[in-house]
């Protein structure tokens, strides 16, 4: 494999950091720390650094929680991608992971719904979701996507591509 070509592609697309593989909590933590150090050196405000970091954490933990909930945490399906790239004057944080085909429509619909919310509606939904009882077997509070939307400067973009008759590759990008 020619890593030089890969590196050139990364450079062209403004890629700052990329991880591909199965990620554990400690990897999420380490990349997060590296990301913050990197951004701190870019001379941007503390709030902007924290927004990029927060979106990264929510995306990464969402992926991990989903794979664990759907028992996809082992083997090839567990391999996921997270990227942080420059995007105009801001940043794009993206995640890509395997999902079950049957979940695809629901996830994409939920993202479209959140994208359509006005800032006031978003704040209200966030508060409602905060107050909603968490199911005993839930891995998160269902707040992750709303948290990403709160910190984003434009709509999230998702895409899906079928891997086989059971699995779909799901990509989600957020812009800060």
């Amino acid at each position: 494999m020619d890593l030089y070509n890969l590196r050139e592609q990364f450079a062209e697309s403004g890629m700052m950091m990329c991880f591909n593989g199965p990620f554990s909590h400690s990897i999420i933590e380490e990349i997060g720390t590296a990301l913050r150090n990197h951004l701190a050196a870019e001379n941007i405000g503390k709030a902007a650094v924290l927004d990029v970091f927060a979106v990264y954490i929510e995306l990464a933990q969402n992926v991990r929680n989903y794979l664990s909930l759907r028992e996809l945490g082992q083997g090839e399906a567990s391999s996921s991608i997270i990227t942080i790239a420059r995007w105009g004057d801001g940043y794009a944080v993206s995640s890509g992971n395997t999902i079950l085909k049957e979940d695809s429509a629901l996830i994409c619909r939920r993202i479209a719904e959140i994208n359509a919310l006005t800032p006031e509606e978003l704040k209200r939904q966030y508060k409602e979701q905060m107050r909603r009882e968490v199911q005993p077997d839930a891995l998160g509070a269902g707040l992750g996507l709303l948290e990403i939307a709160k910190r984003s400067s434009s709509a999230m973009v998702c895409s899906v591509r079928d891997i086989n008759d059971k699995h779909t590759f799901f990509s989600l990008a957020a812009f800060i």
Partner: protein, 125 residues
């Protein structure tokens, strides 16, 4: 009353009870692998404490919380609110970095959820 002392890590805050000052300190950042697993013993301790004692200050210096930690923090606020309504003397002091508006905004959102004293204090650099 049993002690509560959880050491700080990169993704979990220090949680420490000081009996002499009747103060529960929460310091650091909060994005655990499993927020519910992390906060369950804290909430259990708080529940027992509030049944036996009528005074508590929760002193919080947290720069960042992920969404599931925010949910857990709300459960903590609810427990304090319930104790306050039964006449307990509870309060929160939330300290935030002046250069970190996100921590301040989070404090404001939490503050809207409760009626007991909730002070938001800027830390000088």
């Amino acid at each position: 009353m049993e002690q509560l002392e959880i050491q700080q890590t990169a993704s979990t805050p220090l949680v420490s009870f000081d009996d002499s000052g009747k103060t529960l300190r929460i310091v650091g950042e909060s994005y655990p692998e499993n927020s519910f697993a992390f906060y369950t013993p804290v909430l259990a301790w708080l529940g027992r404490y509030l049944q036996q004692h009528a005074q508590l200050t929760v002193d919080i210096t947290v720069t960042y919380m992920n969404s599931s930690s925010i949910k857990c923090m709300l459960d903590l606020l609810d427990a304090l609110e319930e104790a306050f309504k039964k006449g307990s003397n509870v309060a929160i002091i939330w300290r935030h970095d002046l250069e970190n508006p996100r921590s301040f905004e989070l404090a404001e959102e939490f503050c809207e959820e409760v009626t007991f004293p909730f002070d938001i204090v800027a830390l000088s650099a």
